[in-house]
């Protein structure tokens, strides 16, 4: 099986979009480009009703990704669990496609006996461990996120510890939205590590607009940038881009 690069957008937000196109639609578009959209919705405290964050699930569903609502105390573990689960899910999707070619259409892993499934899961695990991964983190920095940003920062450093313990290579970048003039604002350019983010972490953008849809669209374009391809080509192995 060819070694590929998985592309993910990780959207971290605490509320609903209120400007621009439907975020679920842009997430579907990203998914069509081979990018998975995962969403983490942060809840304020135990009493809060999660209904305002229903959008979270819809974005992830049409983005082919994973969603999760969490209280900020457990953010670190959730961020890495969501990212890894989405990787497995995507890879399983590939495997299912290959299976259909072998077994005929309509067949998926669930239709196989548990013993056979075990062998296939080993292949999925191998791929998850060795594939290259690009994660674009998209952080909602509207006013309500104020007291959550330090936790988000910690969770992202933690994510880079987890992913960099894999055999495959990683690239991360961070964007925040809404940006000053544009829909999104670059906070941290593509880099294999996130340890250095402490100093550059996003300042809050005041004002009540949350243009989630346009932000996802902009984020999607950041994967096509030349600098990224170049940085992979400079690595020890040629970066095979295969979605």
């Amino acid at each position: 099986m060819k070694k590929g690069t998985l592309k993910q957008i990780l959207l971290i937000t605490d509320g609903c979009s209120n400007k621009g196109e439907d975020p679920a639609a842009t997430a579907a578009l990203a998914n069509q480009q081979g990018i998975t959209v995962n969403v983490i919705g942060i809840l304020d405290d135990q009493t809060e009703q999660p209904e305002g964050l229903q959008e979270v699930e819809e974005i992830a569903l049409s983005g082919g990704g994973v969603s999760q609502l969490v209280y900020k105390q457990v953010l670190s573990q959730t961020v890495q669990a969501v990212t890894k689960q989405a990787m497995t899910q995507t890879l399983q999707g590939f495997v299912n496609k290959e299976l259909q070619q072998i077994l005929g259409s309509g067949q998926s892993m669930e239709d196989l006996a548990p013993e056979k499934r075990g062998e296939i899961m080993e292949v999925v695990e191998d791929m998850g461990e060795t594939c290259d991964l690009e994660v674009l983190v998209l952080i909602d920095t509207s006013a309500s996120m104020h007291d959550k940003l330090p936790t988000v920062k910690e969770a992202l450093i933690d994510l880079s510890i987890s992913l960099n313990s894999r055999i495959g290579r990683n690239r991360f970048c961070i964007y925040s939205f809404p940006g000053k003039k544009k829909d999104i604002q670059k906070v941290f350019d593509w880099s294999p590590q996130l340890d250095a983010i402490s100093t550059v972490f996003p300042k809050l953008t005041s004002g009540g607009i949350t243009p989630t849809g346009p932000a996802i669209r902009e984020a999607m374009y950041q994967f096509g940038r030349k600098s990224l391809r170049r940085s992979f080509r400079n690595g020890n192995e040629p970066g095979v881009e295969e979605a």
Binding site: Q68, Y71, E110, R117, G118, E122, I167
Partner: protein, 313 residues
Amino acid sequence: MGTNQAWKKHNKEIRPGIHITGKWHKNSYLIKKELGSGAIGTVYLCEWNGRTAALKVSDTSTSMTVEVNVLKSLEKVQGNPLGPSLVDIDDWTSPLGNQYTFYVMEYLQGQSLASFIRQQGKEWIGVFMLQLLEDLERLHQSGWIFGDLKTDNILVLHSPPRVRWIDVGGTTKIGRAIKEYTEFYDRGYWGLGTRRAEPSYDLFALVMVFLHVFYPKRFEKKQSSSQVFLINKINAVKELTPYRTVLRKAVEGKYQTSAEMRVEVINCMYHMQKMSRSRTNKNVQKSTSLPMLAEAGGITLLATMYYLLSLLL
């Protein structure tokens, strides 16, 4: 994924008294009661052909498949079993039409490490450390790292007392990224290392297991140096005094293998025994001198009585 455990789908569908029948192997398991649950799934006590066993089910079927792969590998390792033995793996279609993957394993009846040590005394600390290090050494030798080593995933079986692992969900091939971990036990969380599966990862978690025994409420990370913080925590536990240096070195990631750490734990125990023997020797000397003192006291008493008597007369 759910936000908390109560949201798990299978919890609503599985109750004591129901039968879970496998789609492929057709075995039927009567659910007796819940044994416990964790981040991944729930484990039930069940009955099948008059035998009791433990049945684990999760909403994510791939996790069950991965755990069964690990259990199968561990069964091949020689010596004392490294995990519960595997009985069956199958799918179950619930009355509501949901499909779950479950597996059935040996039911391990035991007690938690903390309650055993509390009841039976601190001399078991060293014994369990050695048992755990022995198992870890064999596990590592066969190419695996336990990963999610924590008090919840360790049971003490009785007569003779022997620690056993349950939940191999975190067990990862050496050199890969740890599959599953719990923050308190994870050196990555403390900023003291990577999550790459290597022996020193498990040895760090082992220290945290023994800290958890003496800090039942655990404790949280501080902004300052975690290394100093954890070493202070170790030093504050009287019961761990004999093992201080070994535990400190494991926190610092100084051991490359569990065998290395095991040798030093044995040295600590030997040293401790020598110390306590020399202390009892002193006690023996003290107790031999006591009768003499008593005798001397007796003589004085007698003399005083004669004196008093002479006054009276």
